[in-house]
């Protein structure tokens, strides 16, 4: 179900955000498409986290607009972002370690039997099917998330984002503090999600990784988008130069 690249699923127009005197975002324009992996790179303080928080509904921008699937928003709330089809896999994963896998995947979207009871049987069954579809290997469903490895926990968080019905998944540093083998598994999973037609935005510090998986790269610096390039048309060194401010390929936004 590949969607033509002419119709962005998400469009960010002139989004600005100030924290006191600090301009975290100075008018961001951005488009994300389904079936595509867009990487957002930039140094600390470039505004990557702020733009992600804006898209997931954690913070409200001061101005600008966010268009999701043709619908215009001035700000998103966590619930509206999810309903619009944007799911975020946070760097801290936002999992409850003391609950089991199905309880975590269905956190906030539980099935109920009658008015009061949780339909755990149905949720476990669906969780099992979902993990199977995504080819995620988990020892057993009753395991508490706290007992899983870092990669498995990341997989559960991804499964939840997919289950939330997200058509655009945002990953904040998905492989930070993860082993080599697990990193490969997670990157494969992210790629396969894009192939299945989901839109992906990945925030990463790791330039090598960004070149492995992304279709396009958005470079941010000091609250601005300073470069928006196709991954296979650019050299890693150019991207690094843009991040550090050594060159400015698009000559945008620097007065």
């Amino acid at each position: 179900m590949s969607v033509p690249l002419t119709q962005p699923f998400l469009e960010v127009r002139g989004v600005k955000k100030k924290y006191g005197n600090v301009e975290a975002l100075r008018g961001i324009d951005l488009k994300a498409y389904t079936g595509e992996i867009l990487a957002i790179v930039g140094d600390n303080g470039a505004g990557k986290s702020t733009i992600i928080k804006t898209l997931s509904g954690a913070i409200a921008p001061d101005s600008g607009e966010i268009i999701v699937a043709g619908q215009k928003y001035h700000k998103l709330k966590p619930k509206t972002a999810l309903a619009a089809g944007i799911s975020t896999v946070y760097q801290d994963l936002a999992l409850v370690n003391t609950l089991d896998i199905a309880d975590n995947i269905f956190l906030g979207r539980e099935y109920k039997t009658k008015i009061f009871c949780l339909d755990r049987k149905r949720m476990r069954q669906e969780a099992k099917e979902l993990l199977g579809q995504l080819k995620i290997q988990i020892p057993f469903l009753h395991a508490e998330v706290g007992d899983l490895s870092g990669g498995q926990r990341q997989s559960v968080a991804i499964a939840r984002a997919v289950h939330q019905g997200g058509r655009l998944l945002i990953f904040d540093e998905p492989t930070a503090a993860m082993g080599v083998k697990e990193t490969i598994t997670i990157l494969k999973l992210i790629k396969s999600l894009a192939q299945q037609g989901l839109g992906i935005i990945v925030i990463s510090h790791n330039i090598e990784q960004v070149f492995q998986i992304s279709d396009r790269i958005c470079v941010m610096r000091q609250g601005e988008v300073v470069g928006l390039v196709k991954t296979d048309e650019v050299h890693p060194n150019d991207v690094i130069a843009m991040i550090t401010g050594a060159v400015d390929i698009n000559n945008r936004g620097r007065e």
Binding site: V96, R109, F116
Partner: protein, 315 residues
């Protein structure tokens, strides 16, 4: 692997059940009166107030909080019931007023903790003092006694082989078990303590859950207050002091983590029974009551240390 992990998860409850069994065997050997239905009924009766408070506390601790106000709120609820009845109110409306008072305290606890984000320990320490003060003001510092048979029934009546306090404790136990294991409310209580931020990000109304947990806790306290007052046929303004300690001890003994996210109603029940059997045994062995408080403190300390070491070992 699966079996091992499951066993590991209920290990605290198994361990505590073992301790309780050992205690029962030891006391049976030392005292010929210990192992009898009368004495067991007595232990259940004496434990009923503690069970009620501990069930509410289980949800509070599961959510990563603590409720120090419950002992004093129980006393205040009893006092409100007594004052209402003495001024001519019927039993049922009077009891209702007592529960309403407790609910108000739960609401204040919950609102301050969730919206103003004050530490639960500090918040409930303050409302604990407010409840005690209110009870003293309402009574003028002296106990109110002498109630109708309808009211006394809740403390001293009998229903078949058991009595209303035991029945009430068991009803709350079953309700607690149901709520924690099978409902969204129970799951979110645990999620709040396990990772409240994760729950908030799903868009769940975290404040609502937090407030309702503290309300449930004080409603349990009101039920305890009803029993305490009816049993003694007297509403004492200083009743129920340090009962919150017993409740916390039972919950932690039952395998709950003080950090939140982990709790068990069955564990809490076994914890209450253990403390009840211990109190009963110490009394039988003629150990002065002053020591019992000392023991409770030591037990809490040991239980918290063990729970802390366990969660460190798991990481």
């Amino acid at each position: 692997m699966e079996m091992r992990v499951r066993l590991q998860r209920i290990f605290p409850q198994l361990l505590l059940s073992g301790v309780l069994l050992l205690l029962i065997v030891a006391l049976s050997l030392t005292s010929e009166y210990f192992l009898s239905w009368e004495n067991f009924r007595n232990i259940l009766d004496q434990s009923s107030v503690h069970i009620l408070l501990a069930i509410g506390m289980t949800f509070v601790i599961a959510s990563g909080g603590i409720d120090l106000s419950v002992g004093n709120v129980a006393a205040l609820s009893g006092v409100v019931m007594a004052v209402a009845m003495k001024s001519g109110t019927e039993v049922l409306p009077a009891v209702f007023l007592g529960f309403l008072t407790a609910l108000l305290f739960g609401l204040v606890n919950g609102l301050v903790i969730s919206y103003i984000k004050v530490n639960p320990f500090i918040t409930t320490l303050a409302t604990m003092s407010i409840a005690r003060g209110a009870a003293l003001i309402l009574t003028g510092g002296v106990s109110i006694y002498g109630f109708s048979a309808d009211f006394k029934f809740w403390g001293t009546g009998s229903i078949g082989p058991i009595n209303p306090p035991i029945l009430l404790a068991f009803i709350f136990l079953i309700v607690g078990l149901f709520l924690l294991s099978y409902t969204l409310w129970g799951k979110y209580s645990l999620a709040l303590g396990g990772n409240g931020e994760a729950l908030r990000r799903t868009g769940a109304n975290v404040n609502f859950y937090q407030i309702s947990i503290y309300c449930f806790s004080t409603l349990c306290a009101a039920a305890a207050g009803l029993i305490m007052t009816a049993r003694l046929n007297s509403a004492a303004p200083l009743a129920g002091a340090t009962y919150e300690m017993n409740a916390i001890a039972a919950v932690v003994l039952g395998g709950a983590s003080m950090k939140g996210g982990k709790a068990s109603i069955f564990g809490t029940f076994i914890g209450c029974l253990t403390l009840g059997v211990l109190r009963n045994g110490l009394t039988m062995l003629a150990v002065p009551t002053y020591y019992q408080q000392l023991f409770t403190g030591i037990i809490i300390l040991v239980a918290i240390i063990v729970s802390e070491l366990r969660s460190k070992a798991e990481q």
